[in-house]
Amino acid sequence: MTDIYRSIVDIVGEEHVSNQKEERYFYGRDPGLTPPHEPDYVVMPKTTEEIQRIVKFANKEKIPIVPKGGGLALTGLVIPQKGGIVIDMKRMGKILEVNEKSRYVIVEGGVTHGMLQNYLKKHHPKLRHSIPDSPAIATVVGNAVIHGQGRLTQQYGFNSDMVSGLEVVLPTGEICRIGSHSISSQHWFSKGAPWPDLSGLFLGWFGTTGIITKLGLRLYPCKKMRDVMVFLTDKIELVPDIILKLTHTEMTEDIVVNEQPLPPRFKGNIYILIIITGDSDEELDFKRKIIWDALWDIFESRDGGFLSVPADMKPPLLEMPSRDVVRFADVRKGGGFEYSGPIIPLEKYPEFIRKQKELVSKYNLSYAATSRVIAGGHCMMYAFAFTFNRADDDEMDRIRKALREAAEFSAEQGGMMWKPTIEEQKIIMKKMDPNTLKIMMKIKELLDPNGIMNPGNWEA
């Protein structure tokens, strides 16, 4: 054990390695409900070369490695199931380049969304990226690796769809360039197309196939103005049609569907947040009118209507990232929430919300149902979200059961669990076409012959 420690110290320096109980305790947990498992070492490299040396060493010694960004997936994806080394990526925090003309940025593996947001605002105010609802400490790479979503997901797809190139340290220690910069080191405009898109070997794999040390990300026009409209309905069945009508306008930045029991005035209603952007009042007015017109028949039939949003209510709804999201963890005054978040076809929304209510009643839980429309309405993420008190073991246990039931329901309905827990991964793999699973396992074995990368995940 001491030799391993000294070997890692030789790579990153004593200050950036810990095998002490306190770091092992903290890095062995996340804010969700996955049981803890502690690493043996926590390491904070600064460069790709240091990571390469750590990986080569770990591969030789067959020591598990778990790369960690913000650690906010809530589903235990960076809890080291078999111990080993957790690599905290956040010291790799440089924003390397912004290409204004081709609209992309290249970041190191530990850059946080908060820092990128600030950097663009300051230096490239006409550009923005898709800011997720997770806290600002979430890393750009971590978010891409889990196919995260953000404020531009309704328009442009998952945040991982916006990746424009990768630099990866493979589990055997080689550095691999993915995308346009594989043939021209300075150009990071495409992650694959028009050739085989090899980024798929790393995105969605939760670090089981390599460690992303650099990432190119598409940037988008940053409009001068944003506004929020809130459409309200108590008819669950109408939600898919409302979304269809809204996405048909092609006028919205983001569409988020909320249903929650608190505060009491919210109970029984579905709130559809519609974010619009523009460079002028005229543009915003035009979009408002088009959106109004699109939903006019629902308004006229008295099945829904626009809520008048007071000026002081707008900033929290427009805030990026939204701090309100984490406040959900304090509803039970207990510092926790977790959700099972399947990606589902739009038309399934009513069934999922009914299921959530059933679970809430069965297990006596506090909940919120938040859904985000993805890529113009081809699908949506539905979150079975439950908040808990970390000091209440019984409540946490009930939520575990509810989440398990939600995951089984999602699988039956054909939903694709987003950032699934290991338990959910097993449900998925059990249901998956055997040949699909076979390809997945072959890829994993090919890239990581010694099975050192985030073991426990995507293991059949």
């Binding site: 305790y25 903290f26 804010p31 605002k121 806290p135 400490i137 984490v326 406040r327 510092g335 926790g336």
Partner: protein, 385 residues
Amino acid sequence: MTDYTKQIHRCFRCGYCKFPSDYSDFNCPSYTRFRFDTYSTSGRLWLIYAWLKGEIEWSEHLAEILYTCTTCKNCVEQCPMKFSSDIVDWIVAARSDMMEKEKGRIPPRVTSFLEDVYRLGNPLKERGRRDAWANGIKRYEPGDEYLFYVGCLGSYDEYGQRMARSVATLLSKAGVSFGILGNEENCCGNEVYLLGENELFGMLVEKNVQKFKELGVKKVVTLSPHAYNTIKNNYPLVSNAYFEVYHYTQLLRGLLRENKIKPSEHNAKVTYHDPCFLGRYNQIYDEPREILQSIPGVELVEMERSRENSFCCGGGSGNFVTDLLGGSEESPSRVRVREAYETGANILAVACPSCMTMLQDAIKVEDLEGKLTVKDISEIMVESL
């Protein structure tokens, strides 16, 4: 404050506590220095909860993590939760609790700090007179309007003494009726309180309050924001003693507005470092800036992180002596002087003797001597007269 043991599990470890409000950089001094999540506020809260539950045992490393918190309140400012205002109180309460339950097994430098305050009345190991700096400055007498409370650094530290002299000069020039306690002054106890030594803090409060009352003190003006904070906010909770407390910048602004001090041309490009105990603890942001801007020729430029988002120098909670965050280019004081230098300023203005000593040392290590000078606001004002 509600019993921290019943609340501390409420931290979700969302990480907002690590940032300023615009996410421009990390803004938690100990996280910036060490970069393990354990050294952030959420790390501490989770580890304290683990200790309470018996999941981890006391260790020197845990003590180090706990005491590297400078109690700068950036986390209080940034945490989105309803309990945010209690966070630092929880950490202080846990320190106090651990000190008792773990039989004083705290970092040796913290032990030494507390012992020195107990034995010598200051944490600086000074045995000499507290008034050696105060040549010609009169003692406080009943009837004087203000007691000028100088504090430990003002009494003994070379830079602190310089500050104390320039504040006294300005007060004298403006005709303010004031006096000092001289050798009868004692440590204010702000750091002792934050380090969790409640008993010693109680003793200091009792001693100081007794002295103030004996002399009929009604108004206190402090050199240090630390003393300002504790006499104003903590003393009443312990002793039920209320004094009218001012930081010298508050008084100085009033004197400028009343034309009792008239600065003349003094060309300098200045950036101002907000001390945590003036800013985030007591919302005094404008007074120091107004003073600097009242000097003709002074161009005030802001650092990227200022006011509520100011980056702590790393000296709070006794670290100006214990220096648990020192020894690295990521030490907060070094990060802060680099940030100040980036503004193009030639003077880094401070209003706190702890910040003064931390940043002076950092200037030397960063090799910025001759390029950036740390000066107290009062010194800049005296130079302009």
